[in-house]
């Protein structure tokens, strides 16, 4: 279903609010990852406020789609998207990484029960998503209209266990599995192609019998269409390779791998929020 102009405007405003939450929670926590969560804000917003079949008021709903965040270190975006869609109070976001918080530094489903799984150690989300898709097929066969979404980082693809899961999903032709790779080209030690080259990523997935799409991860229409196509693909799992800009939304953080694994200081956070709230200085901020 194509997005109307109005819907796109809604989503982009929502994404900005979510980015603000990310900055606020990271400043408050004093540690955590900045670039990844900001870079994935547009995709998470599209998923949680448009594409995903879910009911935040009834998180146990059996027919819901499942979301697996494999690269658990970008959990500020997951927590923010969940809070803004009503799973828990937005105020709670400020407890991130604090003692006793439900929002553990890396997601833990025993602490926050609305999560489908715990994650953090890389290379382990995709296999779980494959397991869910297999279980779903055993129960409902090819007709199941429940989808399993799995987010992967690009650097994470260094982990060999991913390729075991990619092989199995291709072999099993899991059409109810949709993977979204955050292709932001950075990892902790530098740029992905310097650390451990991944290209040609499209050919790699295709050769494992996956349907592959490559999109601009900041274009809401692109994101929504790619998900619709992935749902329609028959007899193959789908991967959406989303080209994203790490740190997207705050000029100071964009495209710089040094923002992968650190939070903004209070002052950096203040400047970032100012930029987000004024659309980069184009309008007068309401909080000024």
């Amino acid at each position: 279903m194509n997005l109307t102009d109005e819907k796109i405007k809604d989503l982009s405003l929502k994404a900005e609010r979510i980015r603000e939450s990310i900055i606020e929670m990271l400043v408050e926590a004093g540690s955590g990852h900045t670039a990844g969560p900001l870079g994935m804000a547009d995709i998470f917003t599209t998923l949680y406020f448009h594409s995903l079949r879910h009911d935040p008021k009834n998180p146990e709903w059996k027919e819901r789609d499942r979301v697996i965040l494999s690269n658990g270190h970008i959990c500020p975006i997951l927590y923010a998207a969940m809070a803004h869609s009503g799973y828990f109070p937005i105020e709670e976001l400020k407890t991130l990484r604090k003692f006793g918080s439900r929002l553990q530094g890396h997601p833990h489903r025993e602490y926050l029960p609305f999560l489908e799984t715990s994650s953090g150690p890389l290379g382990e989300g995709l296999g779980q998503a494959v397991g869910m898709a297999l279980a779903d097929r055993i129960d409902f066969g090819e007709k199941s209209d429940r989808f399993i979404y799995c987010f992967l980082g690009d650097g994470e693809l260094n982990e060999g266990s991913n390729w075991e899961a990619i092989m199995l999903a291709g072999k099993e032709r899991l059409r109810n599995l949709i993977v979204i790779v955050d292709r932001n080209n950075i990892q902790i030690d530098g740029y992905t192609e310097d650390i451990m080259p991944l290209d040609n990523l499209i050919n790699k997935w295709q050769s494992f019998n996956w349907h592959v799409e490559e999109i601009d991860g900041h274009n809401f229409e692109n994101i929504s269409n790619a998900i619709d196509i992935a749902k329609a693909v028959y007899e193959r799992p789908s991967v959406i390779i989303a080209r994203t800009i790490p740190g997207r939304g705050v000029k100071e953080f964009e495209r710089d791998y040094r923002w992968h694994g650190k939070p903004p200081t209070k002052e950096e956070g203040r400047i970032a929020l100012q930029e987000l709230r004024t659309l980069g200085g184009k309008i007068k901020g309401e909080h000024q």
């Binding site: 799984t117 279980a135 072999k171």
Partner: protein, 336 residues
Amino acid sequence: MLNPQLRLNTNLFDPNVEQVPTRKGFGEGLREAGIRNDNVVALCSDLTESTQMNLFKEKFENRFIEMGIAEQNMAVVASGMAAMGKIPFMSSYAMFSPGRNWEQIRTTIAYNNQKVIIVGSHAGVSVGPDGGTHQAIEDIALMRVIPNMTVIYPADTVEAKKATMAAVYNKTPVYIRLAREKSPVITTPETPFEIGKAQLMFIPELGLAQVGIIATGPLLARALFAAKELEKRGVRVKVLSLTTIKPLDTNAILALAQEAKAIVTVEEHQIAGGMGSAVAEYLAKVYPVHMEFVGVDDAFGQSGTQDELIAHYNMDTPNIIKACEKVIDRKSKIYQ
């Protein structure tokens, strides 16, 4: 004498006692569990016949997932299936699962508290000719340190079948350790079995025990042979079968320590970190007694037959007897 209440195999001390590998009981138990519960599914890493999962696969083709040689992915996929309400059994050789995929088991199965039953077959040096690369003697240690994990090491094929069927209804993830080679059938279908409950298999005909043997896995048979021999020599022995290593049946262990004041643990595993360590950790705190540990003493395995290797690593009947004599001797020096 064998504890008459447990209805053990009366032929146990016959040289021609029936011998069956524990993995066989697992295969039968899994098939039976599959019949009784539709949610049971099975995953295997290219060792379907070796681990006896073929019995399940033949009956439930659509509930069996062939993973290929990919143990890490097997653990993770099993976790995902459990999250959707399935009860997955995953099997391979213990060296590779939980040997290779330990962190996947920790994070995706135990940390999530997803009930997956991890079946490590071909454990111990008794695998034999394959040699040290394939002889997992560290896996009890690996699994018992993980929170939420239940650790079960059946002593014979009958118990392996019961443990497999009971694991379906356990509340937490389970590790079941199995052996490749044949071992004596000790129990019968009438012998009681409960996860977490140790059983006194051998008791003195009269009086209190001078030594308590705590054994786990198929070496229980050799522990019973040792007890029988000691009984002949006039030594009063109790043998506790500790099939569930975690959670530990502390009541049974404490009662035995209080009575015998000398304990020998027997397991086909590294002494460091194994069942003996678990018993010692507990007793050191509540009721310290002299202990001897029968197990592999900080060494790797090698090629050989089961009997050759069990003897070489000092885990055979004569060595269990020796350990009992040693610990009784140490105790008597203190209590005389």
